[in-house]
Symmetry: D2
Subunit: 339 residues, 4 copies
């Protein structure tokens, strides 16, 4: 029992909406960014990583976003095509907008930070007119990344995509994906996160992200149970709350509570796991798996990612994740991540 039913008559599986960027990860690791001299270029941006992740897992994946009209925009389109992701609804920016960039500082396997280029980015210039109703109508689900709400007109494009999805029975998955960039105020993000979260079917976020989203509209210090209850009382069927190294939990509308711990893993970097987690978790849901199996699959994929240099190139396939889980269970026991 997955807690959610996708409409099998729709031919596209999933359409992430929002940010696609380029990650520049230092080759000379474990030093401050200003001292790093050489960088490797990867596709990046949370919704883009999830798109790659789900495509590698065999899903039929589309994408709604806007890219720059230059070599970097073309890199993105070509990369997606190579992965089998449909690029027919990725618009090309015509007013000098740039593709977002993320320079990574990997100070140590557990300490990292990022330097983002988000001024005048193409993805935030996506306009409502560039969101196609039929494209959304024909998909089982859309994923709205919270960063798409950070500025107009991308904000209105994402809200319109949600309206189309509601109108046509397409599931709405809200990945909070908080980034401080571009937001004008906390009140602003609370308002728009709430607008999506009230009407979505699945929410994915960290405990910190939920705290942020609830900071104005609810009393401070909500427990996971209270948070889950709040959003399940709206249209949501599943609420996933992540606690980093402490693991994560999924709550369902029918009262189910499922918890999981992370797999033991040797970190190369401390980011990128979330997108792998989301891809594999949603894959399981779409396969109709038990929720705890979805969580385990997500957690395994995350473990594979944080041991790699990229957040996109390293996205594993189904067999690779299964193999990883099998080995982990052989080494640490059958219940390695389950409570």
């Amino acid at each position: 029992m997955t807690g959610i039913q996708f409409d099998g008559t729709k031919h596209m599986d999933i359409i992430p909406i929002g940010r696609v960027a380029i990650d520049f990860n230092p080759v000379d690791l474990n030093k401050p960014l200003d001292e790093s001299t050489t960088f490797r270029k990867y596709l990046g941006g949370s919704p883009a990583n999830i798109a790659v992740g789900m495509a590698r897992l065999g899903k039929k994946v589309g994408f709604i976003s806007k890219v720059s009209d230059d070599q970097f925009g073309r890199f993105v389109i070509n990369y997606f095509k190579k992965e089998g992701i449909d690029t027919s609804h990725i618009a090309v920016a015509k007013n000098g907008e740039s593709l977002g960039l993320t320079f990574t500082e990997i100070l140590s396997p557990t300490a990292s930070s990022i330097l983002m280029y988000r001024n005048g980015v193409a993805d935030l210039a996506l306009s409502p007119e560039e969101v196609n109703e039929d494209y959304i109508k024909n998909a089982k689900a859309i994923i709205i990344s919270g960063t798409a709400l950070a500025a107009s007109p991308s904000r209105e494009a994402a809200l319109l995509a949600m309206e189309y999805a509601k109108k046509h029975g397409t599931a709405v998955i809200f990945d909070i994906d908080y980034r401080s960039y571009t937001w004008q105020s906390k009140a602003e993000l609370v308002i728009y996160y709430s607008a999506i979260a009230r009407a979505s079917d699945i929410i994915l976020g960290s405990r910190e992200e939920y705290n942020l989203m609830e900071s104005v509209v609810a009393p401070a210090g909500s427990s996971d149970q209270e948070t889950a209850a709040r959003w399940l009382a709206c249209d949501n069927k599943i609420v996933v709350i992540k606690h980093g190294k402490e693991g994560s939990a999924a709550y369902t509308g029918s009262g189910g509570v499922y918890k999981i711990k992370p797999f033991p893993v040797k970190l190369l970097k401390s980011f990128g796991g979330g997108d792998a987690y989301a891809s594999a978790f949603l894959y399981g849901l779409m396969e109709g798996w038990e929720i705890v199996d979805c969580l385990e699959f997500g957690s395994a994929s995350a473990a594979l990612l944080v041991a790699s240099h990229s957040c996109s190139d390293a996205m594993p396939g189904v067999d690779e994740i299964r193999e990883f889980i099998k080995k982990a269970k052989e080494e640490y026991g059958e219940m390695v991540v389950r409570a």
Copy 2:
């Protein structure tokens, strides 16, 4: 049975949120605006007019908005004070914003148009930080004017006011009040109108305004019944749909349908009636009247307004409206406006 219950423990009756402006109405009537040479200055802006209307009817009225830091801003504050309206939460703009202006062209009693000054206006510069949670908590109802949603940061301020109202059991009244100015696209207004209309308690609008609001999220050509059903299925208790000279109708969550025709009246101008209607209708609701009586009271107030030169100065008191209704019934019969 009014269909809605206001929380009697809250000491402020109602707080309109949004536009306050100055109307310049020509003294030399019935010619094109470019030929008019002399203008009389009045307080204007739909939510401001409603504030004056309800204050004249004896209600305890507040206001949330932002005014210019100049003689016109001071005129507004002084005018409100004179009317007994609380001005403690009207912010003063500090970045050169102007008070909105409306120049009226009265070509004939039935043909008029307006020339609005809405570039860099103070009311659209109201920020979420300037919306006070306690002020809203202590009011029975807020009225959100649709024009407050037309641009940021006023848009976010209005959405935040709604969140506060929902959190504290303050009724949310949505006056669609469509003005083409400032909106970037139809998709944009559909999105934000819908966001408010899904969560409000009462909606007031013309048939054309509902058509606009529903143009993307619903099939075209909805009947009044379908429109009412759509929004009553969310949180709304009362949906009022106006048809101009054909009259208006109110639908309630409990299935009630109430219809009314306008009073016979000699027009001086064809605008301003809606704000008088809203003031008197909401007054009736707050008094706990039957809905059809609220409609009749609103219609009578509207009739008085369209025969006057201003949209604010001419707002009638309770006795004046009652007297008007009495005389109309003596002249045209007891059922003058009722079906």
Copy 3:
């Protein structure tokens, strides 16, 4: 000897460039603006007033500016046409820009202030592409109003007009016309005022305006002689410095110094005189008069204006000014304004 020679082969006499606006002057005078209830509408804006002034004096006048696409824009065009001013190079704004407005507060005959509407105004949206090289080539002189430099793209349009004038031997008259609105910083206005003043042929300004213009690029506290010398050392032929009630002075490149006092007059309001002064002074120059006669003519026209309710409608013709001078001399003596 006028100190300047205009090219008699050019068929247009003069083209002011910059602001055209509407003045709303209170009918109920001598009270604070917020208490005034009735306003009369007049054409306004310094360069527009000068255009009217010179047209009434019989000159062939053009105009370069941009007006709103509404009743107020049409009012301006029609008004100019009625005055015989060529409107073929007045552009119409297409992005919702408004015509500038000036509400006048006439507290007393000597105390007045203004409330300007300059947010999103059409005249500051004039773009370089809308400035026609041939139009300028065929005029004896252009007048650049300093307010045209206050923001882009009007700033670039004015600078380009100057380049065209320099290229084709059209005289450049710089009317400093300082208004605090719209300027971002004092450094900004110093830079752009200087850019024009270095290359112009005639400068008109008050002592305060020259102080402002010189505040960064020259030592503080310049005398009129020092100021005149500074700008005559560039391309200028005549520098006019106004001292309000103390009179005014003109300095020429050949070392001439001409001073004048104002005519005795009963003020109705304390503004509008400057534009009349400029019109009549420049008229005299174009007629080849002695400079002191130009000054007297300008001063007389100013005296007529400040006794009137408008700054445009009241612009006098040649005979009216001559008549005024004649009467003043009869009453106060031949040398009434001369030192």
Copy 4:
């Protein structure tokens, strides 16, 4: 005879004003940018490269600009400090501005293009308030890069710097440095280039850059002689016009004409030579050399740069340039670059 005299009592030699950026040059050369996977990071931006160039030649160099408040901004400051460049007047951006980035596409030794990140860059956010009068007063010369004029408020900061320099006898060197990014229109760049070029002491630019600058204010198709004459007629003492592979020429106010051809060299990339040329040419001028020797020194430095992977790290010292010239003359003859 250098044609220009610098004020020896001023203790700083030269202060470039404008762009400082980071270059990302591909390590996997000779392929389209979207296929390059690894990039090396270098200090970049024409005025910054010139600063490094002149510091390596032993000059006392300052810098006026604005950098991002992040690791990349700190990289720039630290790099400059290491080179002995004074960083006391480099402001730090506080509104989320980014450091400019330049991704280089090196398709072949002779074919290259760049992808610039110039949206919301820190250097264009430099404001007039951040330009210090005394800093400029105490320098022999400033170099204004044309890109600093591309947008406000950097445009006004550069124009103000010029005013300060003129006021205090500091030489103004104008490096046209045309980049299509950020400019709104050709008219705009013509206006601002002209404003600087009329008042500068030395102009450096390519034939194409002069054509662009003169495209509105002068007849098309000027020869080098006409162009030089035009700008020498203003305040300029030296006008340098570059013709790429055809060499370059310097014209002086006293009628001197000096021409030079490039040194034979094996290109690694086709950019970066200009900044080396400027550094070494200006170094020679400051040393009081004959102009033809300055040109030769500049040309030699350029030859060294285009054979290197960076535009800053590879800037040569005096001995290295001398050595290069010596070897070239041994190989190709004494008059290798001279006509």
